[in-house]
């Protein structure tokens, strides 16, 4: 019984959508075993220029030097990744980078030092045909689960907007759909 953890002085290796930093990690503890069953599936980005925002609790100071995601089999368009404050302000982003590399982890450099707080990891794709590995929970449970752990999405958000609020981010199930992008930030060289 330790959540939310009190901040401590430490250096997380990664901050990801599903590791200990995210409320979403509790989903696997909720009997929603689809998370495990479909962890390795890839699917087309739900809509061109759509952005997803995934909440993570950063409990230690950490210098982020890159963000990474895993591509599916179809490469198309461009990607923008970034980190937002809890009030929806963009703190850092990669800018547009070409979607590149079939079924591999793709990373891009950016630089920010995070202090203990709640943040949102963000990913936007310019293409609706580009595929990414993501978690899926089924058409019924999926939208509700992603909403209930605090995911948000916005349209017309490529490149990632300076303010997600202004871009109209929301956590409606219809906007989120059954799509939970697998995204991480790190200060290490991992790939």
């Amino acid at each position: 019984m330790e959540w939310p953890r009190q901040p401590y002085i430490g250096y997380p290796v990664t901050v990801s959508a599903i590791s200990d930093e995210g409320e979403a990690s509790s989903m696997s503890a909720a009997g929603f075993s689809e998370m495990r069953a479909n962890v390795s599936s890839a699917a087309a980005w739900p809509a061109a220029n759509k952005a997803y925002y995934i909440p993570v609790y950063v409990t230690g100071h950490v210098a982020i030097s890159s963000m990474m995601w895993r591509n599916g089999a179809t490469i198309n368009g461009n990607v923008d990744v970034g980190i937002y404050s809890r009030d929806g302000t963009r703190l850092v982003s990669s800018g547009s980078v070409a979607h590149s590399g079939v079924s591999v982890i793709q990373s891009t450099a950016l630089s920010i030092t995070l202090t203990p707080e709640l943040y949102f990891l963000a990913l936007a794709s310019s293409s609706a045909t580009a595929t990414f590995y993501r978690f899926t929970y089924g058409a019924t449970l999926g939208p509700m689960l992603t909403q209930s752990v605090g995911l948000r999405a916005s349209s017309s958000s490529f490149n990632l907007p300076a303010s997600a609020v202004t871009a109209g981010w929301s956590g409606t199930a219809a906007g989120l759909g059954d799509y939970f992008p697998f995204l991480a930030a790190t200060g290490r060289t991992l790939i």
């Binding site: 330790e2 509790s26 503890a29 909720a30 009997g31 509700m144 929301s170």
Partner: protein, 181 residues
Amino acid sequence: MPQVAEIQPLIISSVSRCALGMVQSWTLGSNASSVTQSANNISIMVPFDLTSHMRISHVWWVNGGTCSGTVDVGLYSLDMTLLCSLGSTTAAGTTAVQCTALGTPYLLTPGYYYMAISVSSSTQTFYKLPALQIGVAGWKMLGCGQVASNHPLATGVTLATFVESGTARVPYFGFASEDIS
């Protein structure tokens, strides 16, 4: 001495790690599903601990395939004092998260509490956690309880033993510091 800051949670639910989440991962055998409460006007009480302050502005639950009657969600201290609650609210929107703002946001301080949910109708369905593989003993050992005739949620109630049988399971619900809809 280093200064550390609190991190106000965005969401806490019945399956958060500060509630039932971590333990469930060891013991659940299936997925959440849409089922009714075991009786109308019963409230289910789920313990949790909070290690930082949290300004609670919204509460939410997940409706199942049938919406009927009214729902209430609130927070209790361990002595069963009702700290805040939504009040009777019409269940609306099948198979969806229903998120509603409290009339007045409530500032919860670090400590141990119960989150509670009640419903007026025995046909209203919620997405609920599956039965534990170790049976009702698991819910009891995690601290869950229930209160009969507690809708809308009232203060000064008496916590009774949690009963798990068929539909008597723990709903997936919680509260948030922001609107999640």
